[in-house]
């Protein structure tokens, strides 16, 4: 799949922002006043910034309001609703904490739940697609949620929670890669099943339907950069999970080291997210002779 910068930016930043919101909503740390202002500003900046970035890949962003209507069937619609609901409830909660010095616990819990729901709905947009076998697995929502929680804990300064969550997220990341590498073969689609021509003999794509490229090839049969996949996976794993975990394991890790851990984590997750798209193969590639 084409790794569009807007979508990589969106899933990375808003995942982090909503992860932070989950912890703020639950009252970890129990901040009020100016400290709360900066925490909430950061959380809103990341999540809203991510959502805005995601609208850049829309053909008609001016019609975005229509996307709130089809929650019965569409995970993308559910995501839009969950995101706006989380931001609104969290906004009210934040006003209380920042300007009135009181944290309304129930409101905090609701906004935490809505934030978690937002991350899950984002993950399900990818996990539901049978046409992209690598994403179509249970580890996809686990991966995106665990990364969001780990990043949120890191940003919220919840060191002990972050240690556990980074470890868990790192293990799930490896699991997602591991399972993902064989998903296409397991899904059982081939040029023979795609064309239905397998019975008489071996099928080979002889000629493409067009001399140039097209939307399908640009969007769904992206192959650039796959040769560096192993190296990028190592970078993503070390920078996104291992290094931040080591940094916050140092006893009495100061703000400086914590900040470094956050930066390393975000860079690593962005690389991981690039791979998430670039390595995902759509079955339509079979019609164009992808995978032999």
């Amino acid at each position: 799949m084409h790794p569009a910068p807007s979508v990589i930016l969106f899933t990375t930043l808003s995942g982090l922002g909503f992860g932070l919101m989950i912890f703020l909503g639950l009252g970890f740390p129990p901040v009020t006043g100016w400290v709360a202002f900066w925490f909430f500003a950061f959380a809103f900046g990341l999540s809203v910034g991510g959502l805005l970035a995601s609208t850049f890949h829309l053909g008609h962003p001016e019609r975005a309001l229509k996307a709130f209507s089809q929650w019965r069937t569409s995970w993308l619609s559910r995501e839009a609703i969950a995101a706006v609901a989380a931001l609104v409830v969290m906004g009210i909660y934040a006003v209380g904490a920042v300007f009135m010095g009181t944290r309304i616990t129930a409101l905090g819990w609701i906004s935490a739940a809505l934030s978690l729901a937002t991350v899950i709905t984002t993950a399900m947009i990818y996990a539901q697609l049978k046409s992209v076998p690598r994403w179509n697995q249970i580890a996809t929502p686990l991966h995106l949620v665990s990364v969001s929680l780990a990043g949120g804990a890191l940003l919220a300064g919840q060191i002990s929670a972050a240690q556990v969550l980074l470890l868990v997220a790192g293990v799930i990341q490896i699991g997602h890669w591991w399972v993902g590498d064989t998903r296409f073969a397991e899904a059982g689609q081939s040029i023979a099943s795609a064309t239905g021509l397998g019975r008489p003999g071996h099928v080979r794509a002889f000629e493409a339907p067009h001399t140039g490229t097209n939307y399908l090839l640009r969007e769904m049969v992206h192959v650039v950069g796959r040769k560096h996949a192993r190296r990028l996976r190592r970078i993503a794993f070390v920078s996104g999970y291992a290094l931040p975990l080591c940094l916050i394991l140092i006893p009495g890790a100061a703000h400086g080291l914590g900040g470094l851990a956050v930066v390393s984590h975000v860079v690593g997750i962005a690389v991981s997210r690039w791979l998430f798209f670039a390595q995902a193969e759509h079955v339509v590639g079979l019609y164009y002779g992808a995978r032999g």
Partner: protein, 248 residues
Amino acid sequence: MTSLPTHTDRKLGLVIDLDTCVGCHACVIACKGWNTEHYGAPLSDQDAYGAAPSGTFLNRVHSYEITPEAGPAQLVHFPKSCLHCEDAPCVTVCPTGASYKRVEDGIVLVNEADCIGCGLCAWACPYGAREMDLTARVMKKCTLCIDRIYNENLPEQDRMPACVRTCPSGARHFGDLGDPDSDVSQLVASRGGFDLMPDLGTRPVNKYLPPRPKDQWDDTDILAPFLEPVAQTPQGFLGWLDRALERL
């Protein structure tokens, strides 16, 4: 609404005969011609006369080579457009309700005024049937020429999809695949029509007819053994040349 209908009154669709398609691409051109001038946004091209032309098409013809265990390879031309699936994954993922499946005839359509151009339906389609138009920035797909098949301003023989009307080899058939007695259903039954990627559970309405088995190497003409054998040793001048060259 992007919920799929539980039942459609008819299942209009295409039956494509891979045995008779000659790969002329006339259906591609007829489709582009009709659909760029009528229903919805035109099918735009980018850099049409430049070095890297590309454009939106609702129907494309691939070509595949089949190499059997024994015998010569076979070339199959393979037109592909929207299959108007009964369980269309492209419809349910749409966040705005722009994509829908009609209850009356099962045709899957896009209401372009509601499309936000997110592209998720194209991701959800395993067949590559949907293409985003880069100029209109909305999703385009086969409409089964909905503005032809019900169009009473057209002569009756033209009330079928443009691709079917134009096909010079009779490889494309249009009809109600929900009616077991219709011509297309009979054709599918008699020729062993099949679905593309049936395991994905999309239940396509469009069907493909397999290429018929070809003659084998060994069943050449029964009269062949009685034919005069071709002279193996050259005679006359060529014979002299052959012997002279061998002696050198």
